[in-house]
């Protein structure tokens, strides 16, 4: 299949986002899979037996006892806990519980013990445990010194996505403490209880996990931009640049709203990794408290530099414009300088009617497929690889009420295209509910959900039509420039 579009939509000579596929999780995915293949041939079968027996034990033991009311309640709670679809655990190399997505870590000490034992048992053979398959449950282990992350999933989620999720969790923790500090803590005390330092971060991790399961941006490794006329977006960017022209050591200015990027201004030579941006989106979404005031917070962006903090002036533009501005610098005490700069930015944006334009775009929402004239399309994701940006239309029936199902369709298609053993360039799959087309080219990835009765020829001609439509609208849908600070 070839498209008639000359340059794929959304392409631009320079982007503010790192655009290589060098996601650390992607890199690791590759090697992890190799490891799974070579290492698990022996260890996997052993381990799965072992873990099965553990589980059998815990499943059955309560039945052998006479149960009191309290035990019944405990058992109920335990069953409910055990039935959760996706578990995520974080522990130290010494086996100290740090985080459990469901349930209280302290009550699960036995389980953390088992996980630590598995990891160290395999390690003692100079090997590294990566996954265990037990019936319909998969256990993924990610050992990233000084932490161990474990995902237990009953869903069909592919291994890449679980590993990617675990990487995000690790990065979330790093972003609060820096990797350097994390390492130092455990060098000094192997048995340290990290929860002391992470109070409040559980909420961020909880949110991150939910977020990463529901947002295409995570598996695509891209961000969505708020639709805006180029003139508006440019004027917002240049306002930020000029208001900050005298400020030294400002690294990034990020303006976002409703989980979409409005603009990113960066220091020359430095780029922001989409995975770091996802952590920022997560922080902003999960922290209602940022809305009330201006905040000043240290923040480590693990892909940018895992060893140190940037300091962020974080505030919403104004009560009547709920876009969040982050000014990130390496200086720890220029809050007031940045606060004044923010003031200037808001005043100028207001005068230039940019606040109004942002609000209009936020209120208008994106087109649905039908609104844009594509009645046989239900939904799609278009990712421009070179800018790490993607676009999706608004949800329309039948997915409005079952977004999870739509996301699962996409995740599965993504997995089919990217699986390392047998990657596909093109996928066309028909079921009684829908037709899904996934296409991976050098410049873009496209995932389209069609009505189930569409025939192949019209599907293909619609792809071309859609690409042309996106191309025509690209200036609105994507952030095509990459503004930099003057200093």
């Amino acid at each position: 299949m070839s498209s008639n579009v000359e340059l794929e939509p959304g392409v631009t000579p320079e982007s503010g986002l790192v655009t290589t596929d060098s996601f650390d999780n992607l890199g690791q995915m590759g090697s992890s899979l190799e490891e799974i293949k070579s290492a698990s041939a022996v260890s996997q079968s052993q381990e799965s037996n072992e873990s099965n027996s553990h589980y059998d034990e815990f499943d059955e033991s309560p039945n052998c006892m006479e149960t009191t009311a309290k035990e019944d309640a405990d058992l109920e709670e335990y069953k409910e806990w055990a039935n959760k679809k996706n578990h995520v655990f974080v522990l130290s190399l010494a086996g100290k519980p740090i985080y459990s997505r469901h349930g209280n870590e302290d009550k699960l000490a036995w389980l953390f013990g088992v996980m630590q034992t598995l990891v160290s048992f395999v390690q003692s053979n100079d090997d590294c445990i990566t996954s265990i398959q037990a019936g319909d449950t998969v256990f993924i282990f990610l050992v990233k010194r000084p932490l161990i992350m474990v995902a237990v999933s009953k869903t069909q989620d592919c291994i890449y996505q679980l590993i990617s999720q675990l990487n995000y969790v690790f990065n979330q923790i790093t972003s609060m403490l820096t990797l350097t500090r994390l390492n130092r803590i455990y060098e000094q005390r192997q048995n340290y209880d990290l929860r002391r330092l992470l109070s409040g971060v559980e909420r961020l991790i909880d949110h991150l996990l939910d977020f990463s399961e529901m947002e295409p941006s995570f598996f695509l490794g891209a961000v969505q931009c708020l639709s805006l006329a180029t003139s508006i977006r440019d004027s917002i960017s240049s306002t930020i640049v000029s208001a900050c022209s005298k400020i030294k050591n400002l690294v990034f200015a990020i303006l976002l709203a409703d989980n979409k990027l409005i603009t990113l201004v960066r220091m020359k030579k430095y780029y922001l990794h989409p995975a770091d941006l996802h952590l920022i989106f997560n922080l902003v979404q999960a922290s209602e408290s940022l809305k009330n005031s201006e905040s000043w917070t240290p923040l480590c962006l693990p892909h940018f530099d895992p060893s140190g903090f940037l300091y962020g002036h974080v505030s919403y533009l104004s009560e009547d414009c709920q876009a969040c501005l982050l000014l990130l610098t390496v200086e720890r005490d220029i809050f007031f300088t940045l606060s004044e700069a923010k003031q200037r930015i808001v005043e100028k944006l207001r005068r230039g009617n940019c606040l109004q334009a942002i609000n209009e775009s936020l209120n208008a929402k994106e087109d649905t497929c039908a609104n844009a004239g594509f009645t046989e399309l239900r939904h799609y994701l278009y990712k421009c690889k070179s800018t790490a940006q993607f676009y999706q239309p608004s949800l329309s029936p039948p997915y409005v009420l079952s977004k999870q199902r739509l996301i699962d369709l996409y995740k599965r298609a993504y997995q089919r295209l990217h699986c390392t053993t047998r990657p596909l360039k093109l996928l066309f799959e028909r079921s009684s509910d829908e037709v899904i087309l996934a296409w991976d080219t050098k410049g873009f990835e496209l995932y389209i959900i069609f009505e189930p009765l569409i025939d192949t020829t019209s599907a293909i001609s619609l792809v071309t039509k859609l690409l042309n439509w996106i191309k025509k609208k690209e200036e609105r849908l994507f952030h095509l420039t990459s503004p930099t600070f003057l200093k």
Binding site: M176, L177, G200, S289, S293, S295, T297, E319
Partner: protein
């Protein structure tokens, strides 16, 4: 009009209600499920004390241990410290004492100190007695007040208890009024060099007076006479 600009740092253990107290003051609202503070939040608020405008620049810090290294940034130039603990948690009281030690060791300029016992709506679970808190506050030269950021009201039991208690507990607003008055008297003594005093508003640099877009900027009028007492009473309670 004479203008005093003072920096106020809010310190205390995580979860004692620092943010809730500040939000109650600047917005007069309360959110049960408030998200933990990220780093530190900045608010400004003006209070008119007789013929002077006192601008409070309030730093609400995060109590989490991982932010501890950041704290000096906020208290270094502070002119007043609001030290909050949760009356239902002895740990939070001890932690608050730790902050006082840290201030004494690191800040040379005189400071207005106000100790606040929060969450008195949960008086049934009280772990820190008024006496103890008062004794301690006196010993460090601080005022002591109690409040509930949640209800911002006296409990009925308290009302019945004694008039003295009413003086001790007068709502969240009083806490900040007390700070403003303290700052004003500090400015009169000419001992605090970081406390900024301007003869009129025009002379103050705009950055120190202008409200931020999101912060609340109403001016509140108070009179010293109406609240200045309340410390010299003998403290005994039921």
């Amino acid at each position: 009009m004479k203008t005093v600009v003072g920096k106020v740092v809010v310190l205390g253990y995580q979860g004692v209600g620092k943010t809730s107290t500040v939000i109650r003051y600047v917005e007069n609202t309360f959110t049960k499920q408030i998200a933990p503070t990220v780093g530190a939040s900045f608010f400004t608020r003006k209070i008119r004390v007789e013929d002077t405008v006192v601008t409070l620049q309030i730093w609400d810090t995060a109590g989490q241990e991982r932010f501890k290294a950041m704290a000096p940034m906020f208290y270094r130039n502070a002119n007043a410290a609001l030290l909050i603990f949760d009356i239902t948690s002895k740990t939070s009281f001890e932690s608050m004492k730790g902050w006082v030690q840290e201030l004494k060791g690191n800040v040379e300029e005189p400071m207005v100190l106000v100790v606040v016992g929060n969450k008195i709506d949960l008086a049934a679970k009280r772990e820190v007695s008024r006496d103890e808190a008062l004794q301690y506050s006196k010993s460090i030269g601080a005022s002591y007040l109690e409040c509930s950021a949640m209800t911002d009201q006296c409990t009925l039991a308290d009302k019945i208890c004694a008039e003295i208690v009413l003086l001790l507990f007068q709502g969240v607003g009083v806490i900040f009024d007390k700070i403003a008055i303290g700052l004003l008297s500090l400015s009169g003594q000419n001992v605090a060099h970081t406390l900024k005093v301007y003869d009129n508003e025009i002379m103050a640099p705009s950055s120190e007076l202008e409200a931020t877009d999101t912060a609340n900027e109403e001016t509140v009028n108070i009179s010293i006479k109406s609240i200045a007492h309340g410390r010299s009473v003998g403290w005994k309670c039921c």
